[in-house]
Symmetry: C2
Subunit: 148 residues, 2 copies
DNA sequence: TCAATATAGTTGACAAGGAAACTATAGCGA
DNA sequence: TCGCTATAGTTTCCTTGTCAACTATATTGA
């Protein structure tokens, strides 16, 4: 007997995770930003600047993808790219003032999306799911995984 | 204060879900099949045939995507497309014998992937996560959600 | 009956990421 | 010191999805 798609926990995780991400993408769209762009803005918010390679590691994306993502954010004047004076190869990425100003509103959307998507779960359930996910992340040695 | 990315349950779900899907994709790659193609094969396995539109609904993809996905599966001789004799607009998709023969091996990969990814959880934990995901699916009226 | 509309499927333009090749610079070691 | 190798970033090509326009066929109702 062939197992059903729904027999796999991965199926349910993917179903819900994709829903949450798509819903968030629609919210962000009103601000003219994608999910990947939000993640970059959030990562850059707490640091003075970050090298594209470091960002790629943190986000689990290739350097090529980060290069293009940075291009798009620069085109939107949300991020600034500078040469690294200490290393002729390196760049550094940082928020522009406009990028920084945008972050709080995006964070509110992230909060709202999470709350709406998981409101049918009790706080206990939410906590135990987070704990389980963290356990998997630890057990499988995940750092960060591609968005796609 | 701006919430961290990790403050959202959606973040953890996405991290784990993407890892599980990517790992599965790598396993399937050895059989020359993508995750989306596996889903089509599995959907077609239990029915005599299915219209592309119905498949699009079940998989949460657009008709355009299904059209191209079917093209690829037909090129691999895993799926067959026929005109619907009752409706000049409609087609029907069905597994070829080769497609049907491939399914059990792919199903074993799906089982193995799920087992490996979630082995750090107890059966109780796995069951409660599935229940929580089903609750969200019900509460939010999800049918099926885009893969991407 | 037949025009208006709805549905099935395909196609083309575009988006966004991965892989690998490529350029430039750093840094190590004989 | 100089050549080898490693690292930083960019770019090109490929994949796979969406969206919207398009063709063809069905269906509906005045």
């Amino acid at each position: 007997m062939i197992p059903a798609l729904t027999d796999h926990l991965g199926y349910w995780l993917r179903l819900v995770s994709n829903h949450v991400s798509h819903r968030f993408a629609r919210l962000l769209d009103a601000k003219g930003v994608t999910v990947a762009e939000w993640v970059v803005l959030r990562e850059l918010h707490d640091v003075p600047s970050l090298a594209p390679s470091r960002l790629a590691e943190r986000m689990g994306m290739t350097r090529g993808a980060i290069s293009k993502l940075a291009d798009r954010l620069i085109a939107k004047s949300l991020v600034d790219r500078q040469d690294n004076p200490d290393d002729g190869r390196g760049h550094s990425l940082a928020l522009t003032p406009a990028g920084r100003r945008l972050v709080p509103a995006l964070a509110r959307l992230a909060d709202a999306n999470d709350a709406a998507c998981f409101k049918s779960l009790t706080p206990r359930e939410r906590a135990s799911i987070e704990a389980a996910m963290r356990k998997i992340v630890a057990a499988r040695g995940l750092k960060n995984i591609p968005t796609t």
